[in-house]
Structures are given as C-alpha cells and as structure tokens.
C-alpha cells in the first residue's frame, strides 16, 4: 500500500520506459530444506537455540542418531533421523530438519480462541504472540505436524518463528545461516519452489531417485517450509512427515458448523423463552379445593393425610 504511493506508472514528457514500472514484489517467503544434501550435523539446531536465546537441552539415547524424540517448547528445530532399509536391502540414513511448516492455512490459528495469540503475516510467517496466549493448548490439537509445544511453568505455547525478527529486517533465518552443506535455502516462495523442482528433477533424472519430489502439502494450503525428498511418495519415512496433512476434521467441524449451529440454538432458545413468557405468562399456584385440604381442627396433626388422600 505504501509502495503504491511511491511507485510510478506514468511520467509526463519522459523519454523511454518509466523506471520501475511493472515491478512486482513477492512478499511470500519460503525455507527450502533439501533432505538429500543434509548431513545431520545439527548446526541449524544450535543456531536456532543461539539466536532465540535457549540453552542446549539434555539429549536422550534410543540406539539411533536421534537425540530427542521431538521438538520442545524451547527447542524448535530438530533433525529427525531414520535408518531406512530400501527394497534392494541397502540402507539409507534419512534426515529431515523438523520445525514449524508455516502453513498457508494454519490449523493452530484456526483452533486458537485467544485474541491475537497467533498471527499470520503477509509474508507467510505464522507467529505466536505469547503475551496473548492463554495456554489452552488448542493449537496443539489443530496442528497436523505436532509443532506447538506447551511450557507448563509459564503456561504458554512456543514454536519456530521462522526467525520473524530476522526476516523482518532483511536477514535470513538463523538455521539457514548455519547450514554448512547448503541444503537449506531461503527466498521467495516461487523461487524456492522452482529451485526445489529443479533439484527434484535432477534427483529423478541423474541420481536415480525415480520418486524424488517436492513436499508442499496442498491440504494445508501449501507451506512456507518445503522439502525435497528422495521418496516423495513416502514422506512418513522422514521422521513421520504426514502424507496428506489436513486440519483435523473435528477441529473444522467444531470451529465451523458446530459453532454456528450452537450460536443459533442459544439465541433461538432465549428468544423462544421470551416469546413463551409473553404468550403463556407465568405459572401461578391455584388454591387447594376445600375437600383436598387437611382438616386441622377435626384430626390430630399427624393424621392429616387421611383427609388429604380422600380426593
């Protein structure tokens, strides 16, 4: 908008083209993770911790290279390792950098009840605003990637910000900066998509990975973190990347039809009761017919029921 006020489209008495005319700025950013060139060095994990001010977390040992089972509230970036045995008996060490996918249609945001706790920027970044978070955990239910993590002491939920604080001042995310193999790229969505498709084609045509492809799941409207996978037909192999991630249908039902049905029923009920009162008015007690009354003078107090029951 502010750009439109400074961008020229016609200039009087000007020879030649208008400088900058037809310029098209793409706002959408994207992180590309090429799992085929990742060596699992975890430099991105360290860079993430350093930039975001978290200390290293104690690791767990499960007989693999996996250092901890999943990301944590203070550990937003984790390499998922999988020792995968292929059909021909050879072994492949699959490594995928796991972090928030920054969905175009974010399930966390759809599920969140707190005003301003989750925002989506025009560049595609989905960011948590912890000051507004109420700690209900609905985002954890809405997310199809198991990303938002709850911190019990502060009762807030945290996740990868795609280094919004760096991107907003023209820097690339910290993880990108640290990657030694160049498997991480950062740029506009269309550039990264093009680069990813080029690499996938290379893998298919040159490297013999017939099923190589790009992971940019349409079920969540596409993501602002995309992967190049050797085997795009089986994303689950890469540390449980869902094949067709969707916002859970129960969350959609809850936040969609059920909400409107419930609101209509509540308002309708109140209006209905008001109309009922106006039409039929209050229920008033009626005097008891004399023959249904106990006879206080005739009978001792404790035997009154005999008279009452005669009706």
């Amino acid at each position: 908008m502010s750009q439109a006020a400074t961008e020229l489209i016609r200039i009087s008495g000007h020879a030649g083209v208008v400088p900058g005319a037809g310029l098209n700025r793409e706002f959408q950013v994207c992180k590309l993770v090429d799992t085929t060139t990742c060596i699992g060095c975890k430099a991105c994990e360290v860079a993430c911790l350093e930039w975001n001010g978290y200390t290293f977390t104690e690791t767990t040992f499960d007989n693999t290279y996996q250092t901890m089972p999943e990301t944590a509230w203070n550990y937003w970036n984790l390499i998922k390792f999988n020792e995968h045995e292929r059909a021909d008996g050879t072994m492949m060490l699959l490594m995928r950098k796991d972090q928030c996918m920054h969905c175009a249609d974010p399930g966390c945001l759809a599920a969140c009840p707190a005003d301003g706790a989750i925002v989506q920027y025009a560049n595609g970044i989905v960011d948590f605003q912890e000051a507004n978070c109420i700690g209900c955990g609905y985002c954890m239910t809405g997310c199809p990637f198991n990303i938002p993590k709850f911190d019990p002491p502060s009762r807030k939920v945290f996740k990868c910000t795609l280094c919004n604080d760096r991107v907003s001042v023209g820097l690339e995310p910290a993880c990108i900066k640290a990657c030694p193999t160049g498997c991480l790229h950062f740029g506009t969505k269309s550039e990264m998509k093009e680069l990813a498709e080029t690499r996938a084609a290379q893998l298919r045509e040159v490297s013999g990975f017939a099923d190589a492809g790009v992971y940019d799941p349409p079920g969540v409207g596409g993501t602002h973190v995309i992967y190049v996978l050797h085997d795009a037909k089986n994303p689950e192999l890469y540390g449980g990347l869902p094949k067709d991630p969707q916002i859970p249908w129960s969350v959609r039902l809850w936040k969609g039809p059920l909400k409107w049905l419930g609101n209509a029923a509540m308002v309708g009920g109140i209006v209905g009761m008001a109309l009922h009162y106006m039409r039929f008015g209050p229920k008033k007690e009626e005097p008891i017919p004399p023959d249904a009354l106990p006879q206080p003078d005739a009978v001792p107090k404790d035997d009154r029921h005999d008279d009452g029951r005669r009706l």
Binding site: M266, K283, D306
Partner: protein
C-alpha cells in the same frame, strides 16, 4: 355463620402454610453447583467464540480463566455427584412420568390443571437432572484431556480431536438445559426461585405443581420431605 367464616379463613391459611421443599444442605449444594456452572459458562463461552472473548476479561483475563475453568469443573462435578446421592431416588422415571410426558403440551401451554399428578419432581425436571448428570461425565472425560493436552502422546492425537468436539457439543446441550432450567424456575413458575433460597413452598404451590408429593408430605409431615431413608 361463625363456622363458615372460620373454615374460610382456615382454608386461606392452609393454602399459604409452608412446606419444606429443599433442605439447607440441598440449597447450599444447589448454589455451589449453580455458581460454579455460571463460572464455567462465562469462561467456556469466552473460549467458544471470539465475539464473546471479552467475557474472559470480566473474570480476570484469558490465562486466569483457562487456569480456573477446569478447577471449577471439578467443583461442579462434586456438587452434581452429591445431588445424585441425595436425589437419584426422587429422580427415577416411572409410569406417572410417562403419563405426564404425554401431556407435556398442556404443561407448555400453562394448562397445568390438565396434567396428571406428579411427585416431588416432574418429568421435565428429571430430564434436566439426568441430562446434566450424564453431560457432566462426558464433560469431565473430555475436559481432563483438554486440561492436560500437552501430556498426551502424538500417537494418541485422535483423543484430542474427539475431546474438543465432545466438550463443545455436550457443553451446548447443557447450556440448553441450563437456560430452560433458569427460565422455568426463576421466571416462569412463581414460588420456585424462593424455594431454593429459603427452602419453603406454600401448600397451594405443592398442590398445583406436585400433587402426589403434596399428599405425601401433608400426609406424613417430615423435616426432609421425600428423602425416603430406611
């Protein structure tokens, strides 16, 4: 002449004479339940719709509401279990209720004189009680899942998906029951609201709305009207 006057005035007196409808324990428990439900309703509606999120501010803000909502849920559950213990006998649905249910349109039209006599609670009240009772079970189960969502393993995420839907749906049903309950007892039926404050109704009230119960209590006056304890 003299006897006539005496019997007339005594009839009016008898109509106005009071009967214990709710004991002190029942009343206190009712208001613990009512206040905790109101808190749950206000905070729950705040989480339900962005247009009602301001309700959270009324009770101390979103994080505070989220923190206390489950605890008030436990208070409400406890209150309801005590109610069950005290009332489940009175709440049994029997043939008289089935007859009354058939005549429900007359009840809605306030033509109560056409209704078959009922005991301490009518069929509508029994439906309300059992609706809330079974509702609270489902709300408690789904509520615990929502309370500790973060402790649930990712492989059990379907439990979360079920919990959000069950909690919201059942809450809506209880809101419907709650609205009807408040309307009928505090607005529509004169004398009901007071009975939950001071515990008494007039004989005429009991005769009009709960005739079987009226004969029971006037027949055998007891401090705890219909709590038949062996």
């Amino acid at each position: 002449m003299t006897t006539d006057t005496v019997s007339r005035s005594s009839a009016a007196d008898q109509n106005a004479e009071t009967i214990v409808r709710y004991t002190l324990g029942e009343r206190v428990n009712h208001w613990i339940g009512a206040l905790s439900y109101t808190y749950l309703l206000v905070t729950g509606l705040a989480f339900w719709s962005p247009y009602l999120y301001w309700l959270a501010a009324v009770v101390g803000g979103g994080p505070t509401a989220r923190f206390w909502h489950p605890w008030f849920g436990l208070i409400f559950t406890a209150s309801l279990f005590w109610t069950f213990k005290e009332w489940h006998v009175d709440m049994k649905i029997d043939d008289a209720d089935r007859a009354w249910a058939k005549a429900m349109p007359d009840y809605i039209k306030n033509e109560d004189e056409k209704l078959p006599p009922v005991g301490r609670f009518n069929f509508g009240q029994k439906l309300f009680f059992w609706g809330i009772f079974f509702g609270v079970f489902l709300l408690l189960l789904s509520g615990v899942v929502l309370w500790y969502t973060e402790t649930l393993a990712w492989s059990l995420r379907f439990v979360r998906y079920a919990a959000v839907l069950v909690h919201a749906s059942v809450a809506l049903i209880t809101i419907g029951l709650f609205l009807i309950h408040v309307y009928m007892s505090a607005i529509l039926e004169e004398g009901s609201f007071g009975s939950m404050i001071h515990g008494y109704v007039t004989r005429a009230w009991a005769w009009t709305f709960h005739r079987t119960w009226y004969y029971e209590v006037t027949g055998k006056p007891r401090p705890r009207p219909s709590l038949s304890k062996p």
